[in-house]
């Protein structure tokens, strides 16, 4: 169905407006490669959640083109959306835990939705519970959990079905730095197993821990990609003669910071981000 080289997500000149307001995302073009780790940064209100909603198929772009898993997401019938949503794991910014279900049942929900038999549930759910350190709270309802505990349940629910792509919206916003590191290493482990990860975050410390990650930065609804890691088609495939033309055409909309192409120092990503912040995210 999908070539292994194909990007897992490809957005082309995507725009989004809520109702008749002005666009909260404009001209967003990027392609996310399967198996990579992406951070999505940007000021509050820049449109991170909006872009993630498009990625986790909760929101249809108001313009542009969108392919996921090798399929055009804008023309498929609504009845096929569930099959693609089941390939995604989502940590919502507001968690969206189901109030009347225990932590255990919330974490089990994606498996139940996917039709996993009850006797095959217990082991993975208990594993996840202990991964996020909540074995002792398995029977607790979300309302009786602390903010950080709720967030960990939300993360456990997002990763339990081993999704092809994990989309996490501020997944460490409510936990202490130690727990944040633990959760990040969970994402990293998942990434190692082949899951594409997209994490929206304000936390530069977190970004600094993942030198291999690609950083996408949103600024007032536009995606910055100064070095072109998010460009599409991939550089190698671009017609050589038209490269200049292509670059010039993409310049206004795409930006990039990519850690491993610069140096391998621990703080390289963060340094890039900080340098870019100072420059105002212009092209170098």
């Amino acid at each position: 169905m999908m070539d292994s080289d194909d990007p897992i997500v490809h957005l082309d000149n995507v725009g989004l407006r809520y109702g008749t307001d002005k666009e909260v995302l404009s001209g967003v073009s990027c392609s996310l490669d399967a198996g990579r780790f992406y951070f999505l940064t940007g000021a509050s209100g820049a449109g991170k959640t909006s872009l993630l909603k498009i990625l986790y198929l909760a929101q249809t772009p108001s313009r542009g083109a969108m392919r996921m898993f090798g399929t055009d997401m804008l023309t498929i019938p609504q009845s096929r959306l569930p099959e693609f949503r089941r390939r995604l794991g989502v940590v919502f910014q507001d968690f969206r835990l189901v109030e009347h279900m225990s932590a255990y049942d919330n974490i089990a929900l994606p498996l139940r939705v996917a039709g996993v038999r009850e006797r095959d549930l217990a082991e993975p759910v208990e594993d996840m519970l202990s991964w996020v350190g909540l074995e002792h709270r398995a029977r607790a309802k979300p309302a009786t959990l602390s903010g950080g505990e709720q967030q960990r349940v939300a993360i456990a629910r997002a990763v339990i079905s081993r999704p092809d792509m994990l989309v996490a919206d501020e997944p460490t916003g409510n936990v202490d730095p130690d727990m944040a590191m633990k959760l990040l290493s969970l994402f990293y482990a998942l990434n190692r197993l082949g899951t594409t990860i997209v994490v929206a975050t304000h936390d530069l410390n977190l970004v600094r821990q993942m030198p291999d990650a690609t950083i996408m930065r949103l600024d007032k609804g536009r995606l910055m990609d100064p070095t072109g890691a998010l460009r599409y088609p991939p550089r190698a495939e671009r017609p050589a003669g038209k490269r200049e033309l292509y670059d010039r055409a993409m310049r206004p909309t795409i930006g990039f910071v990519k850690a491993d192409e610069h140096d391998s120092g621990d703080d390289s990503v963060a340094a890039d981000v900080e340098a870019a912040e100072k420059r105002g995210w212009e092209m170098p």
Binding site: A58, P82, V90, H100, L109
Partner: protein, 294 residues
């Protein structure tokens, strides 16, 4: 997807307090209406069979001796006719008994009112207009005061009333079905809006509308079964009470209102149909309301 798991997606509450009661009342009323209509139907067709070939001859003559003579002549002539199956002169005692409620005890020696004599006859075929005219001319010479009536004619208005009662029952059943469907629709819509947040999460996790429909349907199933059974029992009880009231009248006509097994089958189908309609309505409501743009 397995049923048991589907039910765990939404809280396992029932449809809500009044739902089983609403269904029970609907089913009871439909059972009653159906039973009544079928009873009337049996009654009308039995009566029709009995009456179709029956005629009554009245001899309206003030002089008792002449009346006696004409009555005998009528019986003789009718007995001789080959299209008459049976003839019976209604004895005086029976007539007196018939009239007693209206006229009081009658002194046979000095009747205050001249009472016509009656002869009942059953024809081989139906008592058509032509047949009546033929018999009338047959009796004309020897019993000039004889008046013939088809018994079915007397009951014409009764049959018309029975027919309109049956229509009424049909309309009643249709209205009850409509009300029941509306109630289930509202309850299902209510269940969806109470669980809107959960349903949205289920959708985002890749759940489809059919899974949610199954949950709502399952909640409805409990209520529908409980309500239908209760309503069925109530309806039968009411039917039985009404039936025994009518039976107490010991009227020949009402005795014909007994239901045959086919009628009972129809009555048993009422709660089954009610359950099916409730479940289909619940499913249809959920699928229709969830079908919206992304």
């Amino acid at each position: 997807m397995h049923r048991k798991q589907a039910t765990q997606l939404l809280p396992q509450t029932r449809m809500g307090g009044p739902m089983p009661w609403i269904i029970a009342i609907m089913v009871a009323l439909v059972v009653l209406a159906t039973g009544g209509a079928l009873s009337l139907n049996r009654l009308a067709s039995t009566a029709n069979d009995d009456l179709a070939g029956s005629i009554t001859v009245q001899i309206v003559e003030a002089d008792p001796a002449e009346r006696e003579r004409q009555t005998e002549a009528t019986v003789r002539l009718l007995e001789a006719d080959r299209r008459v199956a049976a003839v019976r002169a209604v004895p005086q005692s029976e007539l007196d008994a018939l009239l007693e409620p209206w006229l009081g005890e009658i002194d046979p020696a000095a009747p205050s009112v001249p009472i016509p004599a009656l002869v009942d006859a059953r024809l081989v075929g139906p008592a058509s207009e032509a047949e009546l005219l033929r018999l009338e001319s047959l009796l004309k010479r020897d019993a000039p005061d004889a008046r013939l009536d088809a018994q079915a004619d007397w009951l014409g208005p009764v049959f018309a009333a029975i027919a309109s009662l049956q229509w009424l029952a049909l309309v009643l059943v249709a209205m009850l079905a409509f009300t029941g469907i509306t109630a289930v629709w509202l309850a299902s819509r209510n269940a969806l809006s109470i669980n809107a947040k959960t349903i949205e999460v289920i959708h985002l996790l890749g759940g489809d509308d059919h899974q949610i429909a199954r949950v709502v349907q399952r909640a409805m199933r409990t209520d529908a079964v409980v309500g239908s059974v209760a309503g069925f029992v109530l309806g039968l009880l009411a039917l039985w009470l009404l039936g025994s009231q009518f039976a107490a009248l010991e009227s020949g006509l009402v005795a014909g209102g007994g239901l045959i097994w086919l009628d009972w089958l129809a009555i048993v189908l009422v709660p089954v149909a009610a359950c099916a309609i409730a479940l289909l309505t619940a499913r249809f409501t959920v699928l229709l309301l969830l079908r919206r743009p992304v």
